[in-house]
């Protein structure tokens, strides 16, 4: 942020990255680390579990290296000025996640569960598909502003994606949360992960057009700018949709994620703090309101307040019509047993979490086996990804790009917070997964697409040549703002 200048040729301030080196070689060097570290981790797991280097080491290493190499070449070719950190960070997380999933595949306890599948090969396939999607985004999305054209189509898509899990025969209720759809022969899919990106596109397009109306037509009241009643429309609609998600899909995380993302983008678009206040009030009211009658949410809140009681209820087979789960307590024990340095790869007992140990709860395995040090490193990697995303937003020269970048990074940050906070008992558990680490095709695909879009925006922002044929309608009107 040190190079912030107000360029006279643009209405919004930008980061002057003109003449900046492309940093592709930095990216390549970092990528080597991002591949080598998981390979070592993989060898480590094998040595700890069977006393020998796992037989798949070479192919795994080559596979991950190849995928990273393809992604790197795609960036070099199609987005040469992109941010050099995003790809290595995502690759590192994805690689570590794969190792952890493979490690949990070796657990006898998990193998005995009725729905057990060997997840690592599938996750490797998802990763390959995810990176393919990443490359496709880079190839076909030459300029992120193209997405602006699809603002209302995006809205429609997002709504369809969100409603899909509720369609009878398609939706699947997995342990209380209805956020999956089941496609015969392909497995299950979490449309919410994709809706995240599509909604960000819609919000960015919509707010870019409406932001001045939302920002300026307001009355001042008690130090806050209150919006006009009719401008409240959009936020009310998004709020209502979030509440509906919460009620019908009983998923607090997704609901919080979408509403939070919208409030963040609204705030950035209008620079009005009042939106944040409204947003917080509305989400609090919504959450409390729904929690007062939805038993699934109530159970989650109780498990959060007193995980030990929930553990004992689950153990004693309490038959009160509510599905009690010992997972929250098991996750806390896993973290505590890891301590500062962890037990080392393969030597923990996080499989005691059983169901979803390799997806929603995967961070607990990192907590136990890599300890406080490992989890802090992982959280900081997530923090860095978000930081690069925000930086991309700052550097972007067009408001649509700024909004899209901040929407995606904000959603990413919220998701990490909601999931990690849930697993660590900071907030109630929700049914979302750690981006890149957790097992799950939808999550991996969607997050690679998200990184792809961020890389595209950052490439546009840092490209030395003047931006091609700007977007006239966005910046035609000069707005005089009170400041």
């Amino acid at each position: 942020m040190s190079s912030t200048t107000n360029s006279p040729t643009h209405h919004t301030s930008t980061i002057g990255a003109i003449g900046a080196p492309s940093r592709r070689n930095t990216e390549l060097a970092l990528l080597v680390f991002a591949v080598v570290i998981p390979v070592f981790a993989y060898a480590n797991v094998g040595l700890a579990l069977d006393g020998q280097v796992p037989s798949g080491l070479l192919s795994y290493g080559l596979g991950l290296g190849l995928l990273a190499g393809v992604a790197h070449l795609a960036v070099r070719k199609f987005a040469p000025y992109a941010d050099p950190l995003l790809l290595p960070l995502a690759t590192l997380l994805n690689g570590l996640g794969l190792v952890c999933i493979w490690r949990l595949d070796q657990s006898k306890l998990l193998q005995s569960l009725p729905n057990f599948v060997t997840a690592a090969p599938r996750q490797l396939l998802y990763t390959a598909l995810g990176i393919a999607l990443f490359v496709v985004v880079l190839i076909f999305l030459k300029d992120h502003r193209v997405l602006q054209r699809y603002t209302y189509i995006s809205m429609f898509c997002a709504l369809v994606l969100l409603i899909l899990p509720l369609v009878p025969g398609l939706g699947a209720n997995i342990y209380g949360a209805k956020i999956w759809i089941r496609i015969p022969g392909l497995g299950s899919l979490q449309p919410g992960e994709f809706a995240k990106i599509v909604l960000a596109v819609f919000f960015a397009g919509y707010l870019m057009v409406k932001r001045d109306a939302l920002a300026l037509a307001s009355r001042r009241f008690m130090g806050l700018y209150l919006p006009r009643g009719r401008d409240l429309g959009p936020i009310l609609v998004v709020w209502a949709i979030s509440i509906l998600i919460l009620v019908f899909e009983t998923d607090l995380g997704t609901s919080l994620l979408f509403f939070g993302m919208f409030v963040i983008m609204l705030y950035v678009a209008t620079e009005r703090t009042s939106w944040i206040v409204f947003g917080l009030l509305m989400s609090a009211a919504g959450a409390v309101g729904v929690a007062s009658f939805e038993p699934h949410i109530q159970t989650r809140v109780q498990a959060w307040l007193d995980p030990m009681r929930e553990y004992q209820l689950s153990r004693s087979g309490a038959n009160d019509g509510i599905l009690h789960s010992e997972q929250a307590m098991q996750a806390l024990w896993a973290f505590g047993s890891g301590g500062t340095l962890g037990t080392g790869w393969g030597q923990g007992h996080s499989d005691l979490i059983r169901f979803a140990a390799n997806s929603d709860f995967i961070l607990a395995t990192f907590g136990e086996e890599l300890g406080l040090a490992g989890v802090m490193a992982i959280l900081l990697i997530y923090g860095l990804i978000v930081e690069r995303g925000v930086r991309t937003a700052l550097a972007a020269r067009d408001p649509f790009g700024k909004l899209l970048a901040i929407g995606l990074s904000g959603a990413f940050a919220l998701q990490v917070f909601v999931v990690a906070g849930g697993v660590m008992g900071l907030i109630p558990l929700t049914g979302m997964t750690m981006p890149f680490l957790a097992y799950g095709g939808s999550s991996v695909l969607a997050n690679w697409a998200l990184i792809g879009i961020l890389i595209r925006i950052s490439d546009t922002a840092r490209r030395p040549a003047p931006t091609p044929a700007g977007n006239p309608d966005a910046e035609m009107t000069q707005v005089v703002r009170p400041s």
Binding site: T4, G338, G339, L394
Partner: protein
């Protein structure tokens, strides 16, 4: 738009910071309490991951470990076994895959599993050389022969009861038996059979409560055996200075502040009897009056010097024995003959006998002699420790003289051993509303060799609800068991 962007950046930073703080809270501040939470399965897994170290008596292990069949999902590799489990259960406690560990098995868990910091060097060495971690051993002070004599005696008797034997000069516990007992092997695993065996032993399903460690955790009214404490108080506070001095003891004696006469058992010569004579025939009137004359405070002070009122950690916790602190003279009189609220564990009464035998010095009782690493290096040794001095050496000898008369020609003649001087005191404690329940038979004693040293002090209590009331008396039921235990100790020293 950049100002709100920067604010959002700060907001995202705060989100990550919150997560980092929470993680530090979980994995640093709360780590140990989560890690050691007994509900945390990892505690059990670690406990049975390697063969557990052994508990050792007389150089031989009384425990063992066997590999459990690794079928299906059993994540616990080894199972505890016990040799002669029911006899040793009050010493070992149990370590069960399904039901956790108690007593010695739990207290010395760190040594037995090999996780204790004192085994750090060994553990590191094993880790470097790639050897499986091995648990250390707990070497006890117990005497196998004495324990067998105690347990067999109780078993033959058939009623509920307990025996504690101590070495007076050190406080070493030589025997610690409780009956009825249980076999900790029977539920050491985590199969359905283990669960069934466990259920059968619970008090809810078994009124005899076999899993109660009566030697340490049950308090009984000590009855006449408490007169030894009262006699000690009389000597220590100078009320009487010799065993053969006539006491001021009217008969019948009406307790102060009441119109109730304190009764003796039968028509025994208690009027102004000497303390020797009063102890020999067990006069309630003499010792009741001594107690009420000395008063609550002095009696309490003396009882506390013998260990009443505090839990002992041997290292297994024993219950605290009771002598009340807010009694009127008549209640003090009753308490001084071991009735009213007075209640003592068998360990406590063995401590009384042992302090008298050890010339007035009460040693802290203990049953762990030393802790060893798996290659038999000693990592810790318990040194004998003086707990208090309830009697001067001179008064202790007077009291010994009196207790020896009890065995020589009083109520305790059945504890006599040829060629050994034995001092003792019988007791028959009444309990229940209006004394409706069967009394407890007590016997406390010590043996003294010709060189003046005392190798053993013992306390025996038998509660027998099925026996005829008249049959129960300390001299008849408890003294023979005490005698066998003392003989076993003396024989093993030869």
């Amino acid at each position: 738009m950049n100002k709100p962007l920067r604010r959002i950046a700060i907001f995202c930073g705060l989100l990550v910071l919150t997560l980092l703080l929470r993680d530090n809270w979980l994995q640093y501040v709360k780590a140990d309490s989560l890690k050691d939470d007994p509900n945390n399965r990892r505690v059990t897994i670690a406990r049975y991951a390697t063969p557990r170290g052994d508990i050792i008596v007389d150089g031989n292990p009384i425990t063992g470990s066997t590999e459990t069949s690794k079928t299906g999902l059993n994540d616990l590799k080894y199972k505890r076994t016990y040799k002669n489990g029911p006899m040793w259960a009050p010493v070992t406690g149990y370590a069960s895959q399904a039901f956790g560990a108690t007593q010695l098995e739990s207290i010395e868990d760190g040594i037995l599993t090999g996780n204790d910091d004192r085994l750090f060097f060994r553990k590191t060495l094993d880790m470097i050389t790639g050897k499986e971690q091995q648990g250390g051993n707990v070497v006890t002070t117990l005497n196998g022969a004495a324990q067998k004599a105690a347990y067999d005696g109780l078993k033959k008797q058939g009623g509920k009861g307990a025996v504690v034997a101590l070495e007076p000069s050190t406080g070493k516990i030589l025997a610690l038996a409780s009956y009825p007992s249980y076999d900790p092997s029977s539920f050491a695993g985590n199969t359905n059979d283990d669960a069934a065996a466990w259920k059968k032993l619970q008090k809810k399903y078994n009124p005899d409560d076999p899993m109660l460690n009566r030697a340490l955790r049950e308090t009984y009214p000590p009855g006449s055996t408490f007169k030894v404490v009262t006699a000690a108080a009389a000597l220590e506070y100078g009320k009487y200075t010799s065993a053969d001095q006539r006491t001021e003891s009217p008969l019948p004696w009406t307790m102060p502040g009441t119109t109730t006469q304190l009764k003796n058992e039968g028509n025994i010569p208690c009027e102004n009897a000497t303390m020797r004579e009063a102890l020999r025939v067990s006069c309630n009137t003499v010792f009741g009056k001594i107690g009420s004359d000395l008063g609550n405070d002095k009696m309490l002070a003396e009882a506390e010097k013998f260990g009443f009122g505090s839990e002992q950690f041997v290292p297994v916790r024993s219950s605290a024995s009771v002598f009340s602190d807010d009694m009127n003279p008549s209640q003090t009189a009753l308490s001084s003959i071991g009735q009213y609220n007075t209640a003592a564990t068998p360990l406590q009464m063995a401590m009384v006998a042992s302090a008298v035998a050890n010339d007035g010095k009460l040693m802290k009782p203990y049953m762990v002699d030393s802790l060893e690493s798996s290659n038999v290096d000693t990592v810790a040794t318990t040194e004998p420790e003086e707990l208090s001095r309830p009697l001067s050496s001179k008064n202790a000898q007077i009291l010994q003289d009196m207790m020896e008369t009890v065995v020589d020609k009083g109520t305790g003649t059945r504890a006599k051993i040829d060629g050994v001087t034995v001092g003792g005191k019988t007791g028959t404690a009444q309990h229940g509303v209006e004394n409706s329940k069967n009394p407890y038979a007590w016997f406390i004693s010590y043996a003294k060799l010709s060189d003046g040293s005392s190798p053993v002090a013992v306390a025996v209590v038998i509660e027998d609800e099925s026996a005829n009331r008249d049959d129960i008396s300390g001299g008849g039921l408890a003294a023979p068991i005490a005698k066998n235990v003392m003989e076993a100790v003396i024989d093993s020293k030869k």
